[in-house]
Assembly symmetry: C2
Homo-oligomer: 101 residues x 2
């Protein structure tokens, strides 16, 4: 699964959104305290869908910690071009004293 | 222009991104202190593009104040469905003592 990396970053691309939702849920299930969801270009919408579905349906004890957007330079056949990117950082809620098993 | 409303909200839809960039720039040029850029579904990527281009190329004295994502219920022919949304609030930088004419 190329969209999961060691340091709890999920790169959202062109696969169905539930693939990425599952990746996020799996990271937290495996003990991650924070997961970063990243995307560029048109996949930005899917990254937002991923976090909304993951938090709304599956991870009641997780919240959005930060959302940042930026512009990245990428190399293409026709030279460098700019592409928008987003990073949504998710983390366990601080006030969660009872986590559902 | 249906995507510009009285209260400084730009609704980003399916038009070319520069239409919305121009709308944002125009609002600040006309004296707005804050402008809210909103989008739903696939247009979310274009909303991020809009703010990145507006701030990167045209509005050096404007910054992102907040970025929030949420889930909205919309009515369709087949009943209610959920759609992701984003709101990016832009505002004049506080520390800007000299604004380019």
């Amino acid at each position: 699964m190329t969209y999961v990396q060691d340091d709890n970053i999920i790169f959202v691309g062109n696969k169905p959104v539930m693939n990425y939702v599952l990746a996020v849920v799996t990271q937290f299930t495996n003990g991650a305290k924070e997961v970063s969801v990243k995307a560029r270009g048109k996949a930005i919408s899917r990254a937002v869908d991923t976090t909304e579905i993951a938090l709304g349906r599956f991870l009641q004890n997780v919240e959005k910690i930060s959302i940042t957007t930026s512009t990245e330079q990428v190399d293409t056949e026709n030279g460098k071009t700019n592409v928008s990117s987003i990073e949504i950082v998710l983390g366990l809620k601080q006030d969660t004293t009872q986590v559902p098993a």
